[in-house]
Symmetry: D2
Subunit: 388 residues, 4 copies
């Protein structure tokens, strides 16, 4: 008999939609003991109409316009934090103190100091917790991890990552408000660093180990924008673009770049890792593909025949690929939303005695520390070592 897992959702925006869908879809495709039930959803009083429509669409049993009230409800097992970044800290801590399982969208916090307090809270409470870096569960990225773990890359030399988009080039895009709070530094904390590079860093450290030091540069191309809530032209405080060099603890070198001003790039979250025995390349705009260059086999040390080497496009849809046996048949792709479903499926498995879920909030804190170091390096114009 399925055990109900009663979800309390904070937020009914884009991420609220992605998470609600994922909770409902897990049991359709994965065998788990828990059956998520959408119990309650929160939004601000001023967004109540939107909230009601959202609750109806997704089948939430009730709504709340006071998040603290929702967090404290007895009929909720898990709090899912999908509100803007500046609320993560308070919501996560309150949920932990209320003994709830806590799921939090990325980036974990506005900065590392906040994140430390959040980790302290969930660890003190002893509640299962996670930060939703959903891209670890893109099957092609999980396959890259598997290939690395199988030793097929060998000694790593280079890691390069981009996360480029182009949706804020126009001066007319406002900052703030429901849709564009990511451009409002008071709400988002930072610009592309927290929003996009946090993904790139989480992936990079997962695949290639800790970053030791960075030197960064940030830019704000459009200096002023109308604020959607005040109606006034206000200074833009976020970073529109951020690039940095990194040295990893394993001695390999990294280049990273993120921007919302790369005309023609929509979701250009890419990485490439080059090692002695092989290389991998991934691009989120073609999420079903992993490119793999195989030079020599780790066990035999035998080189591939010289005339037969080349970058391979692995169509990551076979049942042998991570997560894919749960979906359709070879050759049939899954999409963006499935990264959340795969994530929650693994999280439920961890609640049921499966492998400890990663990334948890302690991992999210680590990413936050790298983000903080990047922003500090950019401010100070010098190399900064990552702590912790």
């Amino acid at each position: 008999m399925a055990k109900e897992l009663r979800i309390g959702m904070l937020g009914c925006g884009f991420m609220g939609k992605a998470h609600s869908n994922a909770w409902l879809q897990v049991p359709h495709f994965f065998d788990r003991e828990h059956k998520p039930v959408l119990k309650a959803v929160y939004a601000r009083p001023e967004d109540k109409d939107k909230l009601e429509a959202f609750a109806k669409r997704w089948g939430y049993e009730s709504i709340e316009t006071d998040w603290r009230k929702l967090v404290e409800r007895d009929d909720i097992d898990l709090i899912d934090v999908c509100v803007p970044n500046n609320m993560h800290h308070d919501c996560v801590i309150a949920a932990a103190e209320a003994g709830k399982i806590v799921v939090c969208e990325k980036p974990l916090a506005m900065n590392a100091r906040e994140a430390e307090e959040m980790v302290a809270a969930v660890e003190k409470a002893g509640v299962p917790n996670m930060v939703c870096f959903n891209y670890r569960r893109v099957p092609a990225i999980a396959l890259a991890k598997q290939i690395i773990d199988e030793g097929r890359i060998g000694r790593p030399f280079h890691y390069r990552a981009t996360y480029n988009q182009d949706y804020t080039i126009s001066q007319k895009v406002p900052q703030g408000g429901l849709a564009l709070w990511r451009l409002d530094a008071r709400v988002a904390g930072s610009g592309v660093t927290g929003d996009l590079l946090a993904h790139s860093i989480d992936t990079a450290e997962w695949l290639n180990g800790p970053i030791k030091k960075v030197v960064a540069y940030t830019e704000t191309f459009v200096k002023e924008r109308v604020h959607a809530e005040t109606g006034r032209v206000e200074k833009v405080e976020i970073d529109d673009a951020c690039m940095f060099l990194a040295v990893f603890e394993n001695g390999s070198l990294g280049t990273f770049e993120s921007t919302r001003y790369a005309r023609g790039r929509k979701n250009y979250n890419t990485f490439e890792l080059n090692g002695e025995l092989g290389s991998v390349f991934f691009d989120l705009e073609d999420p079903h593909l992993l490119q793999f260059f195989r030079y020599a086999d780790p066990q035999t040390g035998k080189k591939i025949e010289d005339h037969l080497t080349g970058w391979q496009k692995i169509h990551v849809t076979a049942s042998e690929h991570p997560y894919m046996k749960h979906w359709w048949v070879p050759g049939c792709t899954i999409g963006y939303e499935h990264t959340f479903i795969n994530t929650f499926a693994d999280f439920l498995a961890s609640l049921e005695g499966g492998p400890k879920f990663q990334p948890d909030m302690r991992s999210g804190l680590r990413t936050q520390r790298v983000c903080d170091a990047i922003l500090q390096s950019a401010r100070e114009g010098r190399w900064v070592e990552i702590e912790g």
Copy 2:
């Protein structure tokens, strides 16, 4: 207030899964008056365990092991036929006679004669009906249709299509049984012609108008296989591969090919249309892309600057693209299952006064006639004109 649309599902295999998911997902992403309710699902008595697990997973309220009983139940509005091909005829006719809305997986029937009777039945009963050629609702294919309708291809010269896979190369793959009935001619009717080329033909005629005549060749590479139900080695009667030349009524030429023996091709459903003003190319293995060559604009007749022409990879994920505004944000892909959701969303819209749904069963009959002509041409070694 949402109006319940009570679904009776026939079949709990791969297509039963794809359809069940789609019915549940429509209201999460589209605004429709109807809310599909999974009322009952049928499978054969010998598959009862599988049926019960399926019903539980998808939330069907009840199960049936006699399909006629399900078809006749008063609490069902729509019969969704996802059983093997050799049952389509009887199920669709019975459903029509019981006054149900009828949805049928492709290919519509074992042959055109069956299909004619089915069309007669649904038209006599006056029930809404559709045949599920889901690929018309791949956003990139729908975009190709839009581009053609906008006049951007101009006078058509060539159409070429493939639908190639590689999963039956091994002699060890059995025929028949739950999973591999597509290799058993008595159940499937034909091999790649009905299974894969039917898709290619439906797309081709939708995009480029009726085919006038064909000359075809079929081959069965593996002549004998163990039958999964009898345990005996039996002759393979289906076509493993089929290729044909076509002349369209608009004077353009077509080449078509389908096989399950194209090593390395998994779901290589491609088409290319070349016209005076432009060309389009699509490949289902990269379903989020449409390739478009723009030579001149239909309204102004003005050529693109000579040094700037080239095949464009359109990432079909923008809100301006067909269906995509219902999903995520630009740059975020959807996958295989969404073609069914988009299809059912349009079908519900047609029930609610929206545009008449296509392809209906009369369209499915048309495709069946082309398939029959192909198989006849292959048998007789000569060109065959398509009737009707």
Copy 3:
């Protein structure tokens, strides 16, 4: 000491240029005993200005406006036939009778009957001879041949080829004259069949063995064009497009298509071969790449690990690849003209005791027979077996 090989060139058009360049370049990149010397070049009296400029540019020692005179000159060792197709027959036979080595551009002749007489003449005279199907010496195509010969494709199932271009779509393109004689049936013999499909057929039979039978369809989209020499609108007699199905003697199936009406395709000479153990794909628009799908190794029979299969893009520029050690360094591409240089280098090697050169004119006759069968099948609307 290098031995002079005195070249007499017939023709000073596009092919005259390509061949002249190739003769001069061979000794710069290959070690051969022979050193080609550009002795004399022929064009029609009415093209004398062009001829003189051509001779000067390429360093020809003398010119002729009577081809028979050139063929009979004592100071010439090799006649290179680069005049239009309708002159091949007479030029080759005269050259053979004069005891010259004979090189002839493709297609060998206007039809198989002519080709038979040419083969008879060169074989009777016992002179070394070749027909210039230069694409066999694209390194990536030669690599495909090597991969096949190494057994890496295994039992073949499918071969598909296209040779598509788009340069005659406009009604305003004239037929005939120096530049566009390929559109004049009296000069070219046929349209895309002899011009483009001859290449595809030569490659196909080289890689996959003889074609047994074909069924073809041809079309002339633009029915009338101004003739550049008469100035009058005349009926177009060539095939603008040709498609055909083929059955190979090894039991595999083939689809072929060629056109000059595929908007956006410039030199889209592609082939794909699918076999039990692997597949290859090539496209002349990316001539430095060979795509290879490796499924299992021919010697061990061992499958590639399931999660690691994918189409490989081999960058055919390594010193281990055919011809490439003669050129630059890995990663540096060669281009169109090098296919001629590689061809002539091999031809010279064959004169010096190296492997017998292929394709010789007997091979060219074979291709001509397939072309004739295609055109006959298109005229008669039925399958035609290939003779010889």
Copy 4:
């Protein structure tokens, strides 16, 4: 009547071959008043056998084993410096002082100080001069420049470049000697910075204007290698890899990376420029392609239709593309060697009253200054402004 341009070549290695070929090929494909004549070639006395074979292969009239003697010969008009980097300075200055036209391979010098003296010498002597950054004459790169100059990119935001290879990963590769002097710091000056990044920087500043400041990091992965000349294991002093961030004077941001340790990358010289109106991307491994994203037209300001935007693959082989009308026909590619031929054709044109040739040595000095700043930044671990 063609005017002889008598070439004196210093060096008979890889670059000597590329340049010799280019001098001979220019008059075959371009109309120039000058006809290059290969008069004399120099190599060290210890390489005399190689020198003689080289002279014979390319038709040099004489050889020299004392470069100063060659430079001073009266029958030489142009000195082409293709010897290793540590000789550029003396050779160029001596040639200038002898009043010769001077061509020099890149990088111009071991460092900016040397380069300054060289520029002073050629400018004092008033001799035509160039540094051979041949990639400016890749037609696709020249097309990128044209697109930028046409205003199609608009305000630039980002520039990113890589130049990655993989040929020195093995510890067994020696340093020094004829083939591998690029790994010997005393001969090469630097590693990838001077060898590969110099190309990237020349291209970047040509396309996007001057770089203002950089922060760099270099690494030597293999610390010791056998020296081919001494036979002893010696410390490796070059940079195996270099990455840097840049700020351009136009306010756009740049990331650059070069390495010889990117397994699977052979000649991965790429750049991407993102601007308000469009973007371009290039990769030298596919040198015939330019990728162009067109967002809005610079003159009308009109956006491309939203549903039709996408990255375009321009096959840079049409007669409308830079240089291509001199070569074959649309769809036919050229290769690596043609970049030199195009370069020398433009250089000859400049001698004949055509546009002033760029890059001249003053431009080469500029690139050298950026390289020096990069190496200084890497040594000192801080941002460095570029002078001059």
